[in-house]
């Protein structure tokens, strides 16, 4: 039973999400923790799912094409080809696109089909916690390289969080099979610039066995196109053949529960992922894929007074970023303004956490409980504003780097954001 007991006990271990969602709920907290919106998907998106289940013929309600429901693959190919930076790349809906159960399962299929035991996967910390878990489950070895933090810089994520190039260069070895990039970045909101990505491309060129998985789920939450545009690594010279670009419908269309994610890449990567996905889940849900296929087409059309749904989305989130930034700053939770994504990392150094919280039983905290974890629990339970501690985004050795930060989500209604501000000021006092 040894294989069962060791793997199953690690799989049974609760994660930060298992702890904070119920805690927020039980405390009646405004949940600025987990990254999901608390509003309806846009009307055209909901209508698309209503229509998809209701199609006169049963076709969409049954198994669809395993690799990717064809209308979705077509809509995605058209979407990517319409982007100027992608227009030189060959995107064939039949061979360059795969869909799976959310971006999470796209990433899993990529690791599972391409990693051999002992292969290293380099993650840039802080990194979304699922990457390391998936790598380990697939027999790979996660390796970590931290972004550096410079709080003396202007307090935006692009300025505060940077690469240590020597460390990064040293971290890529002949055993490194995959480098995971995430831009816009969770949790910091940093967007990797052309000079940064070009420098990474040089390292990739120097390591012929290295692939890059670029997680771009926050690609439409971009607040300054001119100075900080979203750049897909796959579009850099020579990088198409080396790169899997991942994204999903959930963040863009406020449908995190619909589980439609996709990968775009060269045929040799996509085929291996598809070969595997056949046997993991056979296909992602057909009805939500159909709904997203229709939504992708509609999203390019004028929406409200904007040129497209995407333009409206970015403007709405930019507005919410401003609201939450002001509330956090007003209580001394110094916000590092993100250029992308819908999270704000705030410096919590000026906030005190009662000692007692450190000794509360926790399903998933490292022991001893790190400062950011305790502070997040305190805010959730006592201030009744839930935030996520960034320590789960770090490898065990580097957990201390998270100690003075908290991650807040602003993908919440204005009312929720205002209420959060009110509760923060009530408990922590205006500074």
């Amino acid at each position: 039973m040894s294989s069962l007991s060791s793997l199953s006990s690690s799989l049974s271990k609760p994660t930060v999400w298992h702890e904070f969602s119920p805690l927020a709920s039980a405390s009646g907290a405004v949940n600025l923790g987990q990254g999901f919106p608390n509003w309806d998907p846009p009307g055209f998106v909901k209508q698309a799912l209503k229509d998809a289940v209701d199609v006169p013929g049963p076709a969409v309600n049954q198994y669809c094409r395993s690799q990717c429901h064809l209308p979705l693959a077509t809509a995605l190919a058209d979407e990517y080809k319409a982007r100027p930076s992608w227009s030189h790349l060959p995107i064939d809906p039949l061979t360059n696109i795969v869909s799976s159960v959310g971006c999470t399962q796209v990433m899993y299929c990529a690791f599972r089909s391409l990693l051999s035991p002992g292969d290293e996967v380099l993650l840039l910390e802080p990194a979304f916690d699922i990457y390391a878990s998936q790598v380990k489950l697939c027999g790979g070895e996660p390796r970590f390289c931290s972004l550096t933090t410079d709080l003396s810089a202007p307090l935006t994520s692009n300025d505060v969080f940077k690469f240590d190039w020597e460390k990064l260069e040293a971290a890529i070895t002949e055993k490194t099979r995959v480098l995971v990039l995430n831009t816009p970045h969770n949790p910091t909101g940093k967007m990797f610039s052309m000079p940064e990505l070009s420098r990474i491309a040089e390292m990739v060129e120097a390591h012929p066995n290295l692939l890059v998985f670029s997680d771009e789920v926050y690609e439409h939450m971009v607040y300054d196109d001119a100075s900080s545009p979203h750049i897909s690594f796959a579009t850099l010279p020579g990088m198409w053949d080396r790169t899997l670009t991942l994204s999903s419908a959930g963040k863009t269309f406020s449908t995190t529960g619909w589980k439609v994610g996709w990968g775009v890449g060269p045929e040799h990567i996509i085929k291996k992922m598809t070969d595997l996905q056949n046997w993991v889940c056979f296909s992602a849900p057909s009805v939500t894929q159909e709904a997203i296929a229709r939504s992708l087409v509609r999203a390019r059309q004028p929406y409200l007074e904007y040129s497209s749904f995407y333009a409206w989305l970015a403007d709405d989130y930019r507005r919410k970023r401003a609201i939450l930034t002001e509330h956090l700053a007003s209580v001394g939770l110094t916000p590092i303004s993100p250029q992308g994504g819908f999270f704000i990392c705030a410096d919590s150094s000026s906030i005190t956490c009662p000692d007692s919280v450190y000794h509360e039983p926790s399903l998933s905290a490292p022991q001893p409980m790190p400062r950011d974890w305790a502070l997040a629990r305190h805010l959730t339970q006592t201030v009744k504003v839930a935030a996520i501690p960034p320590s789960p985004f770090y490898s065990p050795a580097n957990v201390a780097e998270a100690s003075h930060y908290l991650r807040f989500a602003f993908c919440k209604t204005d009312e929720e954001l205002e209420e959060a501000g009110r509760r923060l000021r009530e408990h922590l006092g205006a500074r």
Binding site: L4, L11, W17, N61, Q62, R112, S133, L276, N278, P285
Partner: protein
């Protein structure tokens, strides 16, 4: 390094073509070559479309899900949080609805939070089970013919597969003829056996295992305290002839070691929705919840909420009774039609599928004829008689069935040579049209 005097675009092109040559042999995870061939179900579905064939191949209904399920989904998405992440391991409404429905059937008070796990399709459930339970070199014993997802998942996980054949005595012309040989089970199981996979109602034979038959298996299984039993019961709603669907987990002493697997997709005719679930003791189920949390994070929220509502509606409206009756009538329609054509059916006691005998000479692919699907060159499986018959039927008769030899271990495939699997989970018009086309094809070959 490349010359900096080239433009960056030219450098990019040169590098891309260099890499394209080397990446055509991209390094993959171990054993990926075992799955580089096509999925037989997907391949025949594609071919059915291409040739305009009536698709009685892959196990999905050609009729729509019940109205109350569609309405439940449309209703579910009107609550904002039903479109956002749900609980990894199973939406609380769904697992509670399942606990309510299945507790009486299992004769126990099921704990919704720890004894039930959802997956995006029962097939993903099989993947989670194998991933969580089967390590490198460990043995999975599968009753065969089997649903080949078990075997592919086990192979990819580094497990070894041992097939345990159902053999036909051929006396009743029904799926009851297929029997397990208990002495053979005794010889097959050992301390090295990690998982035994049972499937009732059985795909592809349609056998519905009796309680006595399952008890005989349990009596052997008892000797192996480390053996886990996976009871794949996805076709539980389609049981005919007034038979009872028997649950291995309800036999004495078997609850503690059994994971029962179910499919809302099969029960509610919505195979594309991807909603499956597993029931068992918490020490076997909580690792599956954790595994789902890593590979998918969670299931599809509006779908899980809709299925929760559907279970309640189904009980109120007598859906399960009317569904079983409907499926039995479809079985009868196909069975009678196949008999008329001279494709002697093995009448299934349950499930979605009917096997039939293709040994008549008009079913022989003509000597020297191609009938090679595109995959023929790479995998000898595709050159076997049942594959060539299936190909010929798809291309020329324009009726698609699934060749069963993919469902047997390589050394046990001979019984499949003269068999073809047809799905009866289809609109009556599809079934009658398929029979009409087969009659026409037969006439053309006499």
């Amino acid at each position: 390094m490349l010359s900096k005097s080239l433009t960056s675009a030219a450098r990019g092109t040169l590098l891309m073509s260099t890499l394209a040559r080397s990446l055509s042999t991209i390094q993959t995870a171990p054993r990926m070559d075992l799955v580089s061939g096509p999925n037989v179900f997907a391949s025949f579905s594609q071919q059915a479309t291409k040739h305009g064939a009536v698709n009685l191949g892959q196990g999905f209904p050609s009729f729509a899900p019940p109205d109350f399920l569609v309405e439940a989904a449309q209703e579910a998405m009107t609550t904002p949080l039903n479109n956002q992440y749900t609980r990894p391991g199973g939406n609380p409404q769904l697992v509670q609805a399942l606990a309510d429905y299945y507790s009486p059937k299992f004769g126990r008070n099921l704990d919704a939070m720890t004894e039930i796990a959802t997956s995006t399709g029962a097939q993903e459930g099989i993947w989670l089970i194998i991933m969580a339970l089967v390590g490198e070199g460990e043995e999975v014993v599968c009753v065969e013919p089997y649903f080949d997802a078990y075997v592919k998942a086990a192979h990819l996980g580094g497990g070894t597969i041992t097939g345990l054949p159902l053999r036909s005595t051929g006396s009743t012309g029904t799926s009851a003829d297929f029997e397990l040989d208990i002495p053979e089970l005794e010889k097959t199981l050992s301390d090295k056996s990690r998982v035994l996979i049972l499937n009732t109602p059985h795909n592809p034979t349609g056998k519905v295992f009796s309680r006595d038959e399952l008890q005989a298996v349990a009596d052997v299984v008892k000797k192996y305290p480390n053996l886990i039993v996976v009871a794949d019961e996805v076709y539980e709603a389609a049981v005919f002839e007034g038979l009872t669907h028997e649950r291995f987990a309800t036999l004495d002493g078997m609850w503690e070691r059994t994971i029962s697997v179910f499919s809302a997709g099969k029960t509610f005719s919505c195979t594309g929705w991807r909603c499956g679930y597993m029931i068992g003791p918490s020490n076997l189920i909580t690792p599956l919840q954790g595994a789902q949390g890593v590979i998918a994070f969670a299931g599809v929220t509006p779908i899980e909420v809709a299925v929760a509502s559907a279970f309640k509606k189904a009980e109120e409206t007598g859906y399960f009774e009317s569904y079983a009756k409907m499926m039995e009538e479809k079985r009868d329609l196909l069975v009678n039609g196949l008999r008329d054509v001279g494709l002697e059916p093995v009448v299934p006691q349950g499930g979605y599928f009917t096997l039939c005998d293709t040994s008549a000479s008009w079913c022989d692919p003509p000597a020297g004829s191609g009938y090679s699907s595109p995959e023929h060159e790479t995998d000898p499986l595709w050159g076997r008689r049942d594959f060539r018959v299936a190909q010929m039927f798809t291309e020329d008769a324009k009726v698609t069935g699934i060749p069963p030899s993919a469902s047997y271990s390589p050394h046990n495939r001979d019984p499949a040579d003269n068999l073809l699997r047809f799905a009866h989970c289809k609109e009556d018009s599809d079934l009658t049209e398929a029979v009409r086309r087969l009659k026409e094809f037969k006439a053309s070959r006499s």
